[in-house]
């Protein structure tokens, strides 16, 4: 832990760091590539819609059903007159899907299956019957929910932060959803109402991460125009590095319970609602953790830098650096001799620097003051 803590501290102070913003085009490129692949997968292969979206019936036989898959399929097709898909689940259970049968026919099929499999009580076979319009209902409601949520959340983020962050968050969100849908299309996982639930949960979760990052950004860029030490871009990158540990931790902790669900749902139950929710959540959360760091904040920077005020500020910073460099050269000789005297000056403000206004528009020429202002250039902090 101590090493992790060290890295955290170094990230926080900006001693180590990854320049997310400068290398953003690499990540944009990767994301665009993934998104294109995902969309292509979606368009070419389409989604493997579960029985809930087509209408039909799913029968699950009780444990220790001594019937082979092939036999069950034959029996189900004979009983229903429709095509059947049979899967073997854990505990010798069988999952028999029959698409396209009416809900009223299903009871007959169920009794026929029970008879065929030698199950005395047809009630022991679990049945899920879905009318043809049910899945459509769920899907259309989900779309409706998605749109309403997006509109509301953009409004909220625009108020809580600013419109650029809201737009960036929205793009990151759409990015996550597209990737998740793409993974479903490419891998061919079955889409069920559980999947839809998982997908909708990504909405809240993906944004949770993004909000944590944006909150750090908002804080560190507060009143940033009052100083000329760092450009907005540098500040953004710095705050991103500073919140990196936090983002990673929140993402890991969010993923762990989902991993538990996935393990149990997929491994032990062999499918079903738990698995469906967990799978889409897992993919979406992973994409969300990635996008909030690599996509959302760089996007905010790109949007911000279109603002004339920010451009002017960036120029001011550049001008100041140029003059700094000049004076630094002039003072270089003098400073080397004054090295010993510098020490007390440095030790005193080390504790109090962040509260003081010293950094704001600071005209100090001591190189040491640079170290002090790092990570908190905004001056006042609360």
């Amino acid at each position: 832990m101590s090493r992790l803590g060290d890295i955290g501290a170094k990230l926080y102070r900006g001693e180590v760091g990854y320049d997310f913003v400068a290398k953003r085009f690499i990540w944009y490129g990767i994301s665009i590539l993934i998104t294109v692949v995902a969309l292509a997968g979606f368009l070419v292969r389409g989604l493997n819609m579960g029985i809930e979206f087509q209408g039909g019936a799913v029968f699950t036989t009780p444990q220790n059903t001594q019937v082979s898959v092939a036999h069950a399929q034959e029996a189900a097709e004979k009983a229903s007159g429709h095509q059947a898909i049979v899967q073997q689940l854990g505990g010798d259970k069988l999952r028999i899907q029959v698409a396209g049968i009416e809900t009223s026919e299903s009871d007959k099929v169920r009794s026929a299956l029970a008879e065929d499999f030698g199950i005395a009580d047809a009630g022991k076979i679990d049945a899920q019957l879905v009318g043809p319009s049910w899945g459509e209902q769920i899907a259309s409601k989900a779309w409706q929910g998605l749109w309403i949520f997006m509109v509301l959340v953009v409004i909220y983020l625009a108020i809580a932060f600013e419109w650029r962050m809201a737009v960036a968050a929205l793009i990151a969100l759409i990015h996550d959803l597209t990737i998740t849908v793409g993974v479903y299309a490419l891998v061919g996982f079955e889409v069920t109402p559980g999947t839809v639930i998982g997908l909708l949960t990504i909405l809240g979760y993906s944004l949770y991460d993004t909000v944590v990052v944006f909150d750090g950004l908002k804080e560190s860029s507060k009143d940033f125009t009052k100083q000329t030490r760092f450009t907005y871009r540098e500040l953004a990158n710095r705050s991103l590095n500073g919140t990196l540990v936090r983002s990673i931790n929140t993402s890991v902790v969010a993923l762990l319970p989902v991993a538990g669900l996935l393990f149990i749902g997929g491994g032990v139950l062999g499918g079903g609602m738990l698995n469906d929710i967990a799978l889409s959540l897992f993919v979406g959360l992973a994409a969300g953790a990635y996008s909030s760091i690599f996509i959302a904040t760089p996007l905010v920077v790109d949007l911000k830098e279109r603002d004339p005020e920010i451009r002017a500020h960036t120029k001011r910073v550049a001008a100041r650096r140029a003059s700094d460099a000049r004076s630094a050269r002039e003072e270089k000789a003098a400073e080397e001799s004054a090295d010993a005297d510098d020490e007390p000056v440095d030790a005193e403000p080390a504790g109090a620097a962040h509260g003081g206004p010293g950094v704001v528009g600071g005209q100090r020429r001591q190189p040491s003051s640079r170290g002090r202002g790092r990570g908190r250039p905004s001056g006042k902090r609360r």
Binding site: S133, N249, V252, V253, F263, A350, A352
Partner: protein
């Protein structure tokens, strides 16, 4: 260590960590106490975890009736379906609307789900049939002394009461139906807009005619298993004699038979509460002839709760002619049975021909009984039909297996999170784990209490939501802990660090939890089916997360910051400044950092 005056601004919030802790303690104790007192120590389980059948019905408008799917009609439909399902002798079947056009019917295990589905799926049949003869509901109650409820039991409360208590003693019938039997009988059917004079006169008012004075009860009422009443053939009489309305199951069976009969046939049927049985003639008026019905309180005439009915044009004419016909007859044939799905819901007597297309039923209604009857009558006019959108049958075995799997998944998720937190936060993780436990306890008790109060049932997606919520809750702690660590990295000692970190962590937590909650609320509002259960848990746990962080985690951190273990920066506290990479403010440390910084800036 650090400038102590810096922390002063935040001192106020630090001063009393005891108070919020007390609040949450009281809340926990109250919730737990409430849970045990109410006797619902476990959350109610949904069909997919407890086993049973869950049917989702989708409302369809009948052609040409736009706008028929509205909350009022849906509620009426729910009321009707509920009485049908529960009429099967099923207890705790649950019927509720979901979204704007769906009705969910949950039938617990142990019920004949096939019959239940048939019941739910068929369209309700409502008929107005003339009563040919009536008798006490249970064939065992054949003692001659048994006071067959005479059709025109008075509505006067005092007399009715004494009458009932008499009956309770005399009747051997254990069905204790006397408590409700008055209801179907004390009703008289009236013409709407009757003149006040007429209604006041004893002639128009049905009840006094055969006032059920104690004397009258002894006299052979026409409905005894005595010689068949005129107009009732022997076969019907035999069927009526055989009919047993004493138990809910037998009534359900009788209703099933009766409901299968055509509208022209003569049938025998039980009253809803089993107190009386009837032989009924061919249906005179159909349910679809009712235009609308509603319960209202009549203040002008002092009749109490009444049920107003408006008929359609042809329905009004039919009603007028048939009431004219039966009003001339002697009791019980002057009565009219309102039959829904083979059971007699109400059998008011008629004193005169009721023309004009509207009528009302009076009697000793309570508000609830009047509304329920109005609902029944409205259903005939309901321009809705229902289709099964989905039917889930879950055996008890699969249900418990899924519940178990959910719990195991939750335990694994929780364990993984705890391990991670311990690994990363060491001593601080104790606070996180305690907070998670408090959060879990609150969630559990609230879920248990919401079962009886708002009918919340824990289903599989809800379990899933709760598990996912472990992450959200732990995230809040991480946000706060990381903030504290940041402050320590600034060189602050723990106590000011804790207080300074809080306002900023608080903002982050509130904003991100709000987004989470927004997602849950939108999902809950617009979606249907299982998505809703999931959204509900997610929303609930998000709110609880905020509560726990504010009222538990923060105060506990404040308190622990006073202990030596944490404030001293013990290596295992998770707040050791050295481990967090705080560099002592000496020249050498700064120096090494400087060149790196310069290159970054350039």
């Amino acid at each position: 260590m650090a400038a102590p005056n810096r922390g002063r601004g935040a001192q106020g919030s630090q001063s009393r960590p005891g108070r919020p802790l007390l609040v949450i303690l009281i809340a926990l104790v109250a919730l737990t106490g409430g849970m045990f007192i109410s006797g619902h120590t476990k959350p109610r389980l949904g069909i997919d975890l407890a086993g049973g059948t869950s049917i989702t019905l989708e409302a369809k408008e009948q052609p040409g009736k736009q706008g028929a799917i509205n909350p009022q009609n849906m509620d009426t439909a729910v009321g009707i379906i509920e009485r049908r399902v529960n009429g099967l002798g099923v207890s705790e079947a649950e019927v509720q609307t979901q979204g704007d056009r769906h009705i969910i019917v949950n039938i617990p295990k142990g019920t004949d789900q096939k019959t239940a589905r048939e019941q739910v799926g068929t369209t309700a049949k409502l008929y107005f049939r003339p009563v040919l003869t009536s008798a006490a509901g249970s064939p065992t109650a054949q003692q001659p002394a048994s006071p067959t409820p005479s059709p025109s039991d008075t509505a006067k409360t005092d007399k009715a009461k004494s009458d009932k208590s008499d009956k309770g003693d005399a009747s051997a019938s254990p069905s204790a139906s006397s408590t409700t039997q008055g209801r179907a009988l004390t009703q008289g059917l009236k013409q709407q807009d009757e003149s006040p004079a007429a209604s006041g006169s004893p002639k128009a008012d049905e009840s006094p005619k055969a006032d059920a004075s104690p004397a009258a009860t002894g006299s052979p009422a026409p409905a005894e298993q005595a010689p068949a009443a005129p107009g009732v053939d022997a076969k019907t009489q035999a069927a009526l004699d055989k009919l047993d309305c004493s138990t809910a199951e037998k009534r359900a069976a009788a209703a099933e038979t009766a409901a299968k009969a055509t509208e022209k046939a003569t049938i025998v049927a039980c009253s809803e509460d089993g107190a009386e049985k009837y032989a009924l003639g061919a249906a005179a008026v159909l349910g679809t002839d009712v235009d609308k019905a509603q319960a209202s309180y009549d203040t002008q005439q002092g009749r109490g709760w009444i049920v107003n009915m408006d008929f359609t044009g042809s329905g009004g004419k039919k009603f007028a002619s048939v009431t004219g016909e039966i009003s001339q007859k002697a009791p019980p044939q002057n009565r009219f049975a309102i039959e829904l799905d083979g059971q007699v819901v109400s059998a008011p007597s008629v004193s005169e021909s009721i023309a004009g297309g509207s009528a009302f039923i009076e009697g000793s209604f309570t508000q609830a009984s009047a509304e329920s009857l109005a609902n029944v009558l409205s259903y005939g006019a309901l321009p809705l039909s229902f289709e099964e959108a989905s039917v889930d049958t879950v055996s008890a075995a699969l249900g418990s297996e899924q519940l178990q799997a959910g719990l195991i998944a939750g335990a694994i998720g929780l364990a993984l999170v705890v391990i991670y937190l311990v690994f990363y936060y060491r001593g601080l993780s104790l606070i996180a784990i305690a907070s998670l436990l408090v959060s879990a306890a609150l969630t559990y008790t609230i879920m248990a209490l919401l079962g009886p109060t708002i009918g919340f049932a824990l289903n599989l997606p809800a379990v899933c939501g709760a598990i996912v919520a472990i992450g959200i809750t732990a995230d809040s702690f991480i946000v706060y802990f990381e903030r504290i660590r940041d402050e320590i990295r600034h060189g602050r000692s723990l106590r000011p660090a804790v207080e300074r970190a809080w306002p900023r962590a608080r903002r982050t937590i509130l904003v991100s939890d709000f987004v989470s909650f927004l997602a849950a609320a939108v999902l809950f509002a617009v979606t249907v089916g299982k998505v809703q259960g999931f959204a509900f848990t997610l929303g609930l746990t998000t709110v609880l997360d905020v509560v726990v962080v504010f009222l538990f985690t923060k105060p506990v951190v404040t308190l622990l910051a006073r202990t030596k273990f944490f404030s001293g920066g013990h290596p295992w506290s998770g707040l050791d400044p050295r481990r967090l990479g705080v560099q002592p403010p000496i020249r050498r440390g700064r120096r090494t950092a400087a060149p790196l910084d310069l290159t970054k800036e350039a």
